[in-house]
Symmetry: C2
Subunit: 372 residues, 2 copies
DNA sequence: GCGTCTATGGTAACCGGTAGCATAACCGTG
DNA sequence: CACGGTTATGCTACCGGTTACCATAGACGC
């Protein structure tokens, strides 16, 4: 009877379609649990739990013995069980809509640098902040996963609706964004303006006077920030950005190519172009090649990001670099800050870009640099 | 007494340092649970569970009523609790050591295409298969997380030790790798050889005879595969790859630049170079620029991967394309295959690359193509 | 010697789900 | 109309941890 009953059970769910495969998979062979460790050590689960969580009230030798047993058996507490009890998962989310894979990858690596060895994992979540149901999606994501924390990178890091949502969902977060923030917030700041100013100074020093700025799209705060910094840098040399030499791109190669063609086809074309990012600067390179304009002899170009492509095109491009991986690491570290520090809403860290000089800049044709 | 006892308790962990912040965080306000839904619907937890898991033996109207209540309240079952009971998490891992961020990003996006709406999440795990403790790390990772499945991409996808480990850990996996496999396995196959053969045919048709192959490092199976395909393609036109024109690179820009310089400095330099990937092909571009060798008039170049850089350098590069995002999606789909299909160990899918012709190929100098 | 405090460890309940089994209702059939 | 088989549903234990609360053993002060 027992047997036949079991056999009947084996044929479960006769009309089952679409049940999660997880439910059908064979059981993995069971591993050691906290109960096993407690039994091996001759103590209670509670004591082992104290050791795992580094809680006090465990004798030093007891602690050492338990730790030895844990190490010997390679025991790893189950994050799902711990998370269930803690009402918090051991997952850190990266929410992003950044079109630059190199940037995203470096952020990921930086976050993982910080997570390594802590027992937390990184969950990736791309998004479209202008898509329908964006906020609902995000809410579902963070609530369902009970994320330990979230890192946001541009441009979604500039979306205050999302920040507000994360707060209401009680999900800690750190934003990476450039420095023009009105109120104190929990973020990793990048001083894009300073990098852009450095680019402006360098072009001014080389003697350029007709200098163009190829801006990123207004959706990105960095576009404004870099533009403002560039203008400020020029002003230090008594230069102004002529209105007709400030043109709007989209942070894409294609927009750089199109705007580059237009700028360089003018009779009084600029002798230098500062592009809001390397993608657009690369487009300017192509436009120059098409028109037979030599870089850097006829045209100086500076980009922003110091993407790998900056050294892969010819001539190697001068660009502005941010320590992206380090920024990712720092942002993740910020999630582990003490509650007090987190409540302070102060910036987690600030980064200033550096100008990496290569072969795409030179004095303008028929002109002499003001100094070296 | 009671009160003072509680107050004493509030000062818990007086010398606590290093306890997981999760344990210290305030509790998120509690959400709806399956018990709440059951109460609202006037049924038992078990019945709600059946609805969630699409199990049979629930009356259609009961099911509809429960689904309506779930939708109305935006209830989402807790993946940690489900995972604990299932002994399986709802996480899919991507284990990778691929140096190409564009490739990795597209794989990620493809996997996420497949996971979207299924309630599974993507966890990223870079690795170094030659580092110390590689296998132990991986074992700890997959066992601790009880991963639902893992996607592997080159070159770690070619590591049989890891495949064996995943099997012994009862962790389903799908590998993306090129087609030269000896035994049938659960993988997404890419016919890199066919793409390389197409490149060879094209160069032969244009009339090239002195053709070089710049190989990737032996660690990558794709390097052999592409080389073999290229040689086979040449053979169709009665051509051979001269031993001195097969050189070894490292899939990096720098190696492409160095090998390119050497190849192009020879008195009898090749009129065409097929590089194992776009990074190296870009290095060849730079070497040609340095030496004043024009592309494509003096030198034809074909790369592999169709990376974004292929269209951003000048002249736009002919390259071989694989549908990377689609491959990632397909690999993830493979994890959801029925147990029967999974046990079959048959390939999940196969992809053949296509040759994307751009401006970096032309007939050799002072020669006439054999046909169009 | 006794009450109080501190250090330590045990027990039961719980986190939010799922699995096994019992049971009731329904169905057609001999 | 009793009966076996199928469908629908609920009860209870359990997944692997953590917490609340309690019990006990020494140390200490009077």
């Amino acid at each position: 009877m027992k047997t036949s009953s079991r056999r009947a059970r084996a044929r479960r769910y006769p009309d089952d379609r679409g049940a999660p495969p997880a439910a059908k998979r064979g059981r993995p062979r069971s591993r050691l649990t906290i109960t096993d460790i407690a039994r091996l050590a001759g103590v209670s689960k509670k004591t082992v739990s104290r050791v795992i969580n580094r809680a006090p009230y465990v004798q030093a030798d007891t602690r050492a013995r338990i730790e030895a047993i844990i190490a010997e058996h390679g025991y790893q507490p189950d994050p799902q069980a711990r998370g269930l009890a803690f009402r918090r998962s051991f997952l850190v989310g990266l929410i992003h809509d950044n079109p630059n894979p190199q940037y995203v990858e470096n952020i990921q690596l930086g976050i993982l640098d910080s997570l390594a060895g802590r027992g937390y994992e990184l969950v990736i979540r791309p998004c479209d902040r202008r898509g329908p149901g964006f906020l609902e999606d995000m809410r579902g994501f963070v609530e369902r996963l009970r994320l330990f924390g979230v890192v946001l990178i541009p441009s979604v890091s500039e979306d205050d609706r999302l920040a507000k949502l994360l707060e209401s969902a009680d999900c800690p977060y750190v934003r990476i964004a450039c420095a023009s923030v009105d109120k104190p917030q929990r973020m990793v700041l990048t001083h894009d303006a300073r990098g852009a100013a450095a680019a402006a100074r360098r072009l001014a020093e080389l003697g350029h006077r007709r200098i163009a700025y190829l801006s990123g799209p207004p959706l990105f705060r960095s576009a404004h920030e870099r533009g403002a910094g560039f203008i400020a840098g020029l002003a230090e040399y008594g230069l102004e950005l002529a209105p007709d030499l400030a043109v709007l791109g989209a942070y894409t190669y294609e927009s750089g190519l199109a705007r580059g063609r237009e700028l360089l086809a003018r009779p009084d074309r600029p002798t230098a172009i500062f592009a809001g990012n390397d993608e657009m600067a690369t487009g300017v390179y192509s436009a120059a090649h098409e028109l037979g304009i030599r870089i850097p002899q006829d045209l100086s170009v500076i980009g922003f990001d110091d993407a790998p492509i900056a050294t892969r095109i010819w001539p190697a491009m001068t660009s502005v670099r941010l320590p992206v991986r380090e920024m990712g690491r720092t942002a993740a570290e910020g999630l582990f800050a003490t509650p007090k520090a987190a409540a302070a809403k102060a910036p987690v860290a600030e980064f200033t870009p550096s100008l990496i000089e290569r072969e795409s800049t030179a004095p303008p044709p028929r002109a002499r640099p003001t100094r070296s």
